[in-house]
């Protein structure tokens, strides 16, 4: 399946510092169409009909989220763009923000119109401070051009914490608190920021919106697979010749991205979805990339034959232990326990019992953690135990083997 540009359509085409170049590419036409030809309900119906699902990792249907917020009682509502992009191996939002900030602003204005919100926030990770000025400039130009009528967009800077990309932790962080995950329900579309109805969407999810409004739900619905519509923007890095950002139609085989576009050779395994993602051995390289199979936020990290699997898993778990917010016990203690055990396997002094504990701990974390961090932290362990059991066996202490 071919590369296709929907999300990246303007990247490298417009000047991100000049709104006129954006207007030259049909910029703000979708917003005008929404405001003059469609009711807010019709906008939401288009998004629902398009089948667009969230690109930040969880894949929740965007239109449904908007509808819930639209129908929630109250006049004060919020639109948040999640630009925290903390998943290991993800940089596509950085790429998009730096090249096409206007599409994001247009999308937020459409979202504001659809749910009835006067305030939007862009939560920008602290590491992307260098994009702040560009974004502010784009917002100011949109305002001067009269495109934001009634919508104020503020940029809120993060302060360095992976978990703040989780939607409820992010809201706590905007409110000036510790970015700890909230208990749900209530869900953000009914009680989000400051307890008010809130939609939160990833940068890439939002960038799709103007195209859908302009070209119609039908058009979008015909691209991709049954349950994954449109394209996906991938960030690929690691043992590849051409790392970078590639946009592919949903359902494209992993092989196309890894071998044909990024030119990887001697692939041992691929982590799809970053640290929280799934580990696929080379024999699974023809897996289609979609919500039905593997996707996450589209981070693809390639490891070649020279890499040590247990080392990779250990480092992945280290990441989660460091980035755990500490609020729930399964995640806080589970990640620590796993590191301890994995360290033994790194040194070749694991035991059979350790393997059982790893499996049990993994299941416990998946079932009982408060948020996606703890629920997905064991993924790399679970997948490598399945695909590379021999490697774990080989690291069981010699004295243990009968």
């Amino acid at each position: 399946m071919p590369e296709k540009r929907i999300v990246l359509k303007n990247c490298g085409v417009i000047d991100p510092r000049d709104i006129n170049t954006y207007l030259g590419q049909d910029g703000f036409k979708a917003l005008a169409k929404a405001r003059t030809e469609l009711t807010p309900e019709q906008v939401i119906a288009e998004i629902k009909g398009s089948g667009l699902r969230g690109r930040g990792g969880a894949g929740f249907p965007a239109g449904l989220k908007w509808e819930l917020a639209r129908n929630a009682p109250g006049t004060e509502k919020y639109v948040i763009c999640n630009a925290d992009e903390g998943e290991v191996g993800t940089f596509k939002d950085r790429y998009i923000l730096g090249r096409d900030p206007f599409s994001l602003i247009e999308a937020m204005a459409i979202a504001g119109y659809a749910i009835g919100s006067q305030t939007g926030y862009i939560y920008l990770r602290a590491e992307y401070y260098y994009l702040l000025n560009l974004l502010q400039n784009a917002i100011a130009q949109a305002q001067e051009g009269g495109f934001l009528k009634g919508l104020v967009i503020e940029i809120c800077e993060g302060a360095g914490f992976y978990v703040c990309g989780e939607e409820t932790a992010l809201m706590d962080s905007i409110e000036g608190r510790r970015g700890e995950v909230r208990f749900r329900p209530p869900f953000p579309p009914t009680q989000g920021l400051w307890g008010k109805p809130t939609i939160i969407n990833n940068v890439e999810t939002l960038i799709n919106i103007p195209q859908i409004i302009l070209n119609g739900a039908e058009w979008f619905n015909h691209i991709g697979t049954e349950r994954s519509k449109g394209t996906k923007v991938f960030s690929i890095s690691g043992d590849v010749e051409r790392p970078g950002v590639y946009e592919l139609v949903m359902g494209s085989p992993l092989r196309e991205l890894v071998e044909e576009l990024a030119l990887a050779r001697d692939v041992k395994l691929v982590q799809v979805g970053g640290a929280a993602g799934r580990v696929l051995p080379y024999q699974e390289i023809d897996t289609p990339l979609a919500f039905e199979t593997v996707l996450g936020a589209g981070a693809v990290i390639v490891f070649n034959e020279s890499r040590d699997v247990i080392d990779i898993v250990f480092r992945t778990m280290e990441f989660f232990a460091e980035e755990c917010c500490g609020k729930c016990t399964p995640c806080r203690l589970g990640t620590e326990a796993m590191i301890e055990i994995l360290a033994k396997f790194v040194q070749g002094s694991g035991s059979k019992e350790d393997l059982t504990v790893l499996e049990d701990t993994a299941r416990m974390m998946q079932l009982t953690s408060l948020c996606g961090l703890g629920q997905t932290a064991p993924n790399a362990v679970v997948d490598t135990l399945q695909y590379f059991p021999d490697l774990y066996q080989a690291r069981i202490s010699k004295s243990e083997v009968p």
């Binding site: 903390g86 191996g89 940089f91 914490f161 962080s173 510790r178 970015g179 970078g244 990290i301």
Partner: protein, 149 residues
């Protein structure tokens, strides 16, 4: 060193939602969050001391210990590790005479390790203050450091 006093800072951040922004500015001005500021911030915003302390110790860009004038954050996540970020860390250690988590005696640099900073396509990468440096090699390090006072 500080060009703004605490009362001046407190005057420009009056609401609860400004707590994080206030702490970030204090960090910028003073190089850390002095412990003695915490009760005053709490009083000014009408918050419990524990809450201010809690927020102040949560985020990786805030620090309760005095940091160097320039904070180096070297990425150690998988994509950078695959591109030998360990060599970059070794070079920095040698150039600065300190290890991760430490500050040079002249207060010029602090060295930290960090997780993915979103530059994996140009790994290995690091940040110094707000600037990201990519495609690093050991040879590039001395010149980059030379640009900081």
């Amino acid at each position: 060193m500080a060009d703004k006093s605490l009362p001046q800072l407190l005057a420009s951040y009056r609401e609860r939602k400004h707590l994080l922004a206030l702490l970030k500015e204090i960090q910028e001005v003073y190089g850390y969050l002095p412990g003695e500021f915490i009760p005053e911030i709490a009083r000014s915003l009408g918050l419990p001391v524990a809450e201010v302390y809690g927020v102040g110790t949560f985020y990786s860009f805030l620090s309760a210990r005095l940091q160097g004038r320039n904070v180096i954050r070297v990425c150690k996540s998988a994509p950078c590790w695959l591109k030998n970020c360990e060599l970059i860390v070794e070079t920095l250690k040698r150039e600065l005479g300190i290890g991760p988590g430490e500050t040079t005696r002249d207060g010029r640099f602090s060295l930290q390790l960090t997780n993915c900073i979103g530059a994996c396509d140009q790994a290995p990468a690091m940040m110094i203050n707000d600037t990201t440096y990519v495609d690093l090699t050991p040879e590039k390090i001395p010149e980059i450091l030379g640009g900081y006072k």
